[in-house]
């Protein structure tokens, strides 16, 4: 068994490429735990991988999707991706989700935002979406949480800018964080998260644009 720790700036396409590279080297995914991936040896190129974002789905929709995957003989792994959602205890609010999926609970949708799909290599690529319309719709769903995250950071920034104090007193976390250094670190962190989100939004938007152009040519 081989164990690897890995973080991805692009948790969907980046992860998919990496897993397919590993499969070509003769490694089959056997377990996923947040950022730790376990592999077992297989024949090089025996399996193919694809990553699907399902954070917008409700719990019932996820279960239906997974039972369909079982039916068509695709193995899957659930993986967390926490983005643009607001958490109170074990309940999360997802403003971008479908009907019935806005309030996610730890028993249902929390930490099951990504699905890694695996199928035996039969010479054909593993494509989750087989037409351009579906690919565009899937990219739009992936872009939504980024919008909310950027919006949230901007609103928070504006609040602090106009009122000169944070929304709640974070000194509860320890005295260092309320010091000016702590505040600076916090803002830098938020800034970095926001910047990554902006880059991802632009990348996804460009992908959508190029798919739309392709669709127009086909029409």
């Amino acid at each position: 068994m081989i164990r690897e720790f890995r973080l991805f700036l692009d948790p969907v396409d980046g992860l998919e490429k990496w897993l397919n590279k590993k499969a070509k080297e003769g490694l089959r995914l056997s377990k996923v735990q947040r950022c730790i991936y376990e592999f077992e040896r297989c024949k090089p190129g025996q399996y193919q991988y694809a990553v699907d974002y399902i954070g917008n789905k409700s719990d019932a929709e996820r279960k239906e999707y997974e039972s369909l995957l079982d039916e068509i003989g695709i193995r899957y792994f659930e993986k967390p991706l926490n983005l643009g959602q607001f958490a109170v205890g074990k309940i999360q609010y997802r403003p971008y989700a479908n009907k019935g999926g806005k309030w996610a609970t730890s028993r249902g949708m929390i930490n099951r935002e990504l699905l890694i799909l695996e199928k035996k290599n039969d010479g054909k690529p593993l494509e989750i979406y087989s037409n351009i319309e579906d690919r565009i719709a899937a990219l739009r769903e992936r872009r939504k949480p980024h919008f909310y995250l950027i919006g949230f950071v901007l609103l928070m920034g504006l609040y602090v800018f106009f009122f000169g104090r944070p929304l709640y007193n974070i000194s509860i976390l320890g005295t260092w964080i309320s010091s000016s250094l702590g505040t600076v670190i916090l803002w830098i962190l938020l800034g970095v998260i926001c910047a990554i989100s902006i880059v991802r939004t632009v990348q996804i938007s460009l992908s959508i644009k190029s798919l739309k152009e392709k669709r127009n040519i086909l029409e």
Binding site: D52, E61, S67, L68, D70, G73, L126, S130, D134, A137
Partner: protein, 98 residues
Amino acid sequence: MLAMYQPNHGYGVMQFVKEKTKGRVVFGPGTLYGAIDNLAKKKWIAPCAPVEGDRKKEYVITDLGKEQVKAELKRMKEVYNIGLEIAGEGEMDNDQGV
């Protein structure tokens, strides 16, 4: 929807489409799920009563769905006829392989 004139499950629909298009169209899992979900929401197909011991969920076309199929066939026929008018029947015969 044509795959569901008889009760059918997701895998069956996938195989049906693959067979009828001679392997040209293969539904990806996301597309297949999205299509079934959409058709069910529009009530063009409906889930069948679950058979005991069978985990697979089967769907069958509804009367509303059949109406939609007929309307679509009519539309396709119109397009086909316009095609014949412009391209001509003789040429179509020669190009049947296309």
